[in-house]
C-alpha cells in the first residue's frame, strides 16, 4: 500500500512540474543580446551573451555579424530554470568572449533563432572601442557607467489632488556588489505623500548592458495648482570592486590567491564611495474645472465606488439607524468627505456627524483604499418609508469630468415611539408596578449665575511678582542667618575665656577711666592714679589673657611687639604704666593739669591699642 502511495505522489509531482513547464512553453520565447560593457579599450575583452528566454529546446542562435572584433572563444552554454510561486521560467545562454581589433563605434548585429517554425531576433547592441587609457597608480575603474540614478513621475501633467506616482530608480551593473546604501528622498513640498509598496528589484537592459534596478515609489497628491517642482533625490553607496592580484612565485601564494580565499578573507576587494544625484523635475498641476461641477462635489478626486447598508430596517420614532457608507477606489482615500444625504424635509430625520474609518487596501501600483462612514440618523415621523438617497460626487481625472454615484432610498419601517413617564409622586396599591418605572430626566439645564458681591475683588492681581513681596521673603532668611552668627558669638564668649576677655577689655577699661574721671573731679589723686593704673593694666591683661599682676611694663612691651604694635606706642604704654604706679604710691600726686594730661593720655593710648590689637 505504501509503495502505491509513494508512486502516486511521484506521479502528481511530475504532472505539476511538467504542467508548469508546458504552461511556460506556451507563453512564447524571446532572444536577448547583452554585453558586459559597452565601452572598452583595445586591451579589454568583451563578453557577449545571447540568451533565449522561455525555452531550452532550441538550436543555438546564429552568431551575429560583428565588425572590429575577433572571437576568442565560445560559446559557453548556461541553462537556468527557476520556479517562483509556481511560475516556471527557463532560459539558455550562449556566452562569447570577443577581442576588439580596432578603435571606433561598432554595432553587434541582431542574432536570430528559429523555434517551431518562427524566427526570433535580438536587438542590435552598440559598443565603443577607445584607445588605451593611461593607467593611474590606483587603477580606479570607470564608475560613471557602472551606477546611475533616475527620478521620474508617471505623468507630467495632473489635476489638483490627482494621484501621481513618483519613482526613484537606482541602476547598478549586474553582478556588481553594492553596500552601505544611503538614500535621501526628494523634496515634495506642496504634495501629500503616501508610500507605495516595498522596494522593487528587477533587471533592465540599457544599451545592451544588464543592470540591476532598485526602485522606490511614492504616491503624490498635489495640494495646490501650478508648476510644482520636485527637488532632486540623492543616493550614496559603496561599490565593492575586486582588484587584480599580482602573480607571485610562491606555491602557497598561488594556492591562497585563489578567488575562493579572496572572497572568504575579503582580500583584493576595494570599496569605492559613490554619490549620485538625480535631476529635479516638475509636475504641472491644473485646477479642477468649474464646468460641470455638481453642487454635491466635496473635493474627492480619483476613481471611486460606493456601497451603502443599514443595520436595522424596523425602528421606532427617535431610535437610531446606523447608516454605513463605504466609499472605495483609487485616490487619496484619507481626505475624502462623507457622502451627502438628499433629504426631502430636514425635519424627517435627525442627523449626527459621521464617524469614519479609513483603510488602505492596496498600495502596490496605486493607492487604493476604503473609507467607511458610519452615520447615525433618527427618524422623527412614523410615515417615513425609506431612508434618504445618498449621493457621492468625485472628479475622475482620467476622463477629465465629474461623476456622481447615487444610491436609491432604502426602505424602512418606522413605528410610534414610547411615551415618557413622569415621576410618580404618590403610590397606591394598584399602580405599584407602574411606580417601578425609571425616572427620566426631562430637561437638562445649566446651573444659575453667581451673585456674591462681597467676594468680588480683582483676581488679576499678581502680587507675587512684586519686587517688594520678593524682598520681604528674604527677611526670614536674613533673620535666620543673623541668629546663627549671634548664637555662635554668644557660645564663643561663654566658652573661650581669652576671646571673652579680649572683647570686654575695652568696655571695662572705659568704666575704670570713668571712675578715674570722678576721682579727678573730687581731686582724690591716689584714687585717680589707682583707677588709671588699673584700667591700663587690666585692659592689657584682658587683651593678652594674662593676670593683671603680670601686666608689667616689660612683659607688656614684649607682647605688644609680638602683636606688631608701633614702638612709640609701646614706649608710651611702658612709661604710663610705670608713671601711674609711681604716682599711685608716692605722695606727689601732681597738679590738676598733670592729672588731666594723664587721663587724656590713658584714654588716647587705650583707643590706639584698641585699633591696633
Amino acid at each position: 500500500m505504501r509503495k502505491y502511495v509513494r508512486y502516486f505522489g511521484f506521479l502528481i509531482s511530475v504532472v505539476i512540474i511538467f504542467g508548469c513547464i508546458s504552461n511556460t512553453y506556451a507563453q512564447g520565447i524571446n532572444l536577448v543580446a547583452t554585453v558586459d560593457r559597452n565601452s572598452l579599450t583595445l586591451s579589454d575583452r568583451l563578453q557577449l551573451t545571447l540568451t533565449i528566454h522561455g525555452t531550452q529546446d532550441t538550436s543555438p542562435p546564429s552568431f551575429p555579424s560583428i565588425d572590429g572584433f575577433t572571437l576568442l572563444f565560445g560559446p559557453k552554454i548556461s541553462v537556468q530554470t527557476s520556479i517562483i510561486n509556481g511560475a516556471v521560467s527557463v532560459s539558455k545562454g550562449y556566452t562569447y568572449v570577443l577581442q576588439p581589433a580596432a578603435k571606433g563605434k561598432f554595432t553587434i548585429g541582431p542574432s536570430t533563432v528559429e523555434y517551431k517554425g518562427k524566427v526570433y531576433s535580438s536587438s542590435p547592441v552598440t559598443v565603443e572601442v577607445v584607445g588605451a587609457v593611461p593607467s593611474s597608480g590606483s587603477q580606479a575603474p570607470d564608475l560613471g557607467k557602472l551606477v546611475f540614478v533616475e527620478l521620474r513621475t508617471d505623468k507630467n501633467e495632473a489635476y489638483i489632488y490627482e494621484q501621481v506616482v513618483l519613482s526613484f530608480r537606482f541602476y547598478f551593473q549586474k553582478g556588481l556588489p553594492v553596500a552601505d546604501i544611503d538614500y535621501v528622498a526628494p523634496g515634495t513640498k506642496n504634495f501629500m505623500e503616501e508610500k507605495l509598496g516595498d522596494q522593487r528589484q528587477y533587471e533592465e537592459i540599457r544599451d545592451g548592458v544588464v543592470y540591476n534596478v532598485l526602485e522606490l515609489r511614492t504616491a503624490l497628491f498635489p495640494m495646490v495648482s501650478g508648476e510644482l517642482p520636485i527637488s532632486p533625490a540623492r543616493l550614496k553607496c559603496n561599490l565593492i570592486i575586486q582588484q587584480r592580484r599580482e602573480q607571485r612565485d610562491s606555491p602557497f601564494d598561488s594556492f591562497f590567491s585563489d578567488a575562493f580565499f579572496d572572497d572568504f578573507f575579503g582580500r583584493g576587494q576595494k570599496r569605492y564611495p559613490v554619490e549620485r544625484t538625480t535631476g529635479s523635475i516638475a509636475v504641472k498641476v491644473k485646477p479642477l474645472p468649474d464646468q460641470g461641477k455638481p453642487k454635491e462635489f466635496n473635493g474627492a478626486v480619483g476613481a471611486y465606488n460606493m456601497d451603502v447598508s443599514i443595520k436595522t430596517q424596523q425602528v421606532k420614532v427617535g431610535d437610531p439607524i446606523t447608516l454605513s457608507m463605504s466609499v472605495y477606489g483609487e485616490g487619496n482615500i484619507q481626505t475624502i468627505n462623507e457622502p451627502l444625504l438628499v433629504l426631502n424635509n430636514a425635519k424627517d430625520f435627525k442627523l449626527y456627524p459621521a464617524e469614519s474609518n479609513t483603510q488602505i487596501t492596496n498600495r502596490e501600483e496605486l493607492i487604493r483604499g476604503r473609507k467607511v462612514f458610519s452615520k447615525v440618523i433618527e427618524p422623527q415621523k412614523t410615515n417615513l418609508k425609506s431612508i434618504p438617497a445618498i449621493v457621492f460626487s468625485f472628479f475622475d481625472p482620467r476622463a477629465g469630468q465629474y461623476r456622481m454615484i447615487t444610491k436609491e432610498p432604502m426602505p424602512i419601517v418606522v413605528e410610534a415611539g414610547e411615551q415618557e413617564m413622569s415621576i410618580q409622586l404618590t403610590l397606591s396599591g394598584n399602580n405599584i408596578a407602574s411606580a417601578k418605572q425609571q425616572a427620566h430626566i426631562l430637561t437638562q439645564d445649566i446651573l444659575p449665575i453667581m451673585t456674591n458681591l462681597s467676594s468680588l475683588r480683582n483676581q488679576a492681581d499678581r502680587r507675587y511678582t512684586n519686587p517688594f513681596f520678593i524682598a520681604c521673603l528674604s527677611i526670614p532668611a536674613i533673620a535666620v542667618i543673623a541668629s546663627f552668627f549671634v548664637t555662635r558669638q554668644k557660645e564663643r564668649l561663654q566658652t573661650d575665656i581669652g576671646y571673652a576677655r579680649d572683647k570686654r577689655a575695652h568696655a571695662i577699661a572705659k568704666k575704670r577711666l570713668a571712675l578715674a574721671k570722678s576721682a579727678l573731679s573730687r581731686n582724690a589723686s591716689e584714687e585717680f592714679y589707682s583707677s588709671l593704673s588699673k584700667s591700663m593694666a587690666d585692659y592689657l591683661a584682658d587683651k593678652f589673657n594674662i593676670s593683671a599682676a603680670s601686666a608689667t611694663g616689660d612683659k607688656v612691651g614684649i607682647l605688644l611687639k609680638q602683636r606688631g604694635v608701633r614702638d612709640d606706642i609701646i614706649g608710651e604704654v611702658s612709661r604710663c604704666l610705670t608713671d601711674f604706679d609711681y604716682r599711685r604710691f608716692s605722695k606727689d600726686g601732681g597738679t590738676r593739669e598733670e592729672m588731666d594730661h594723664s587721663l587724656k593720655l590713658a584714654e588716647q593710648l587705650i583707643t590706639k591699642l584698641e585699633r591696633q590689637l
Binding site: P320, T335, I446, Q459, R463, F468, P476, T487
Partner: protein, 295 residues
Amino acid sequence: MKVRFIGLSFLIITFLNCGMQIVECGEPKSKISRDEVIKLFTNANENYLQAAKGIAARNNQEADQKLKEAALQYETILTHGFEHGQIYYNLGNTYYRKGELGRAILNYRKAQRLIPRNADLHANLSMAKNSTEDKELPNEIPVVIRKMFFWFFLLSVNELIVAAVFLYIVFMTLVFFLIILKYGWLKRFMIGFAVGLFIAVVSVGIKIYREQGVNHGVITTTKCQVRYGPGEEYEPKFEIHDGAECLIEGEKDDWYNVYVYVGVKQDTESKTGAEEKVSKEVRKGWLQKKDVGII
C-alpha cells in the same frame, strides 16, 4: 540703646512705607473702580435673569437682546482689567444661553483657573462639553492622579503661592528657634515643613507653566477646518466644531499650529445593551487665529 531702637524703627517704617508704595505702583490696577464693577456686574446679572425669564416665556427675541446686553457688560468689566471667577462663570452661562458653546467653554475654563473648587462651574462645564458636536476629550488627567495630587487641582496659583509662603515662614521660624533654643524635636517639624515647602514650590512652578507657558485654546466658530499648512491654499485635513479644545504649539501669521486630543465615542450594540467605546488620538494641523479663543 534708645537711639539704636529709634533708628531701627525708623528704618523699618521707611522700608514698609516705600514697599507699600512700590506695591501700589507695580500692581496691575484695573481701569475701573470696584464700585463701578459692582454696578456693572449687578446690571449684567439682572439682564441675564430677565433673559432666563424670557426664555421660559418663549419670548426669544427679548431674551436674546438681554443676553447680548449682559455679555457686553461682563466683557466691559473684563476688558477694563478686572477679573474674577464669578464674572467668567456668568459670562460662560450667558454665552451658553446664546448658543455659543465655544465661547461658553472658553469662559468656564478661564473661571476654572480662578475658582477651581466651584462645583457649579464644573457641572456647567461638563454640560457644555457634552453639548459639543465633536465628542472630543482633552488630554484629561486620570482620577487617581487628581486625587493623589489634590492640592494641585483644588488650589489656584494664588492660593498655592500663599500656601508656599506660609510654609516658608513657618519653616524659617522653626530654623530660627532651632538655632536659638536648640530643641532637638524641632528638627522633625523642620524636615516636615521643608518637604511641604518643596512640594508647594514645585506645584507652583508646574501650575504657572501649565497656565502661562502652554497655550490652550477653544474653537469659537461653528465649524473650523484644520489644514495641513498655514494658509488657505493648503488642503483641509479635518474639521472641528464649536467648543473643541486644542493645544497651541506655534503660530505663523494669522494661523495657529494646534494639537487636538480627540476621543471618538462609538456606540456598539451587544447582548447586554449599548456599550460606549472610546478611542483617543492626537491630531495636528493649522487653523486660523480668529477661530480660536485662548484660555
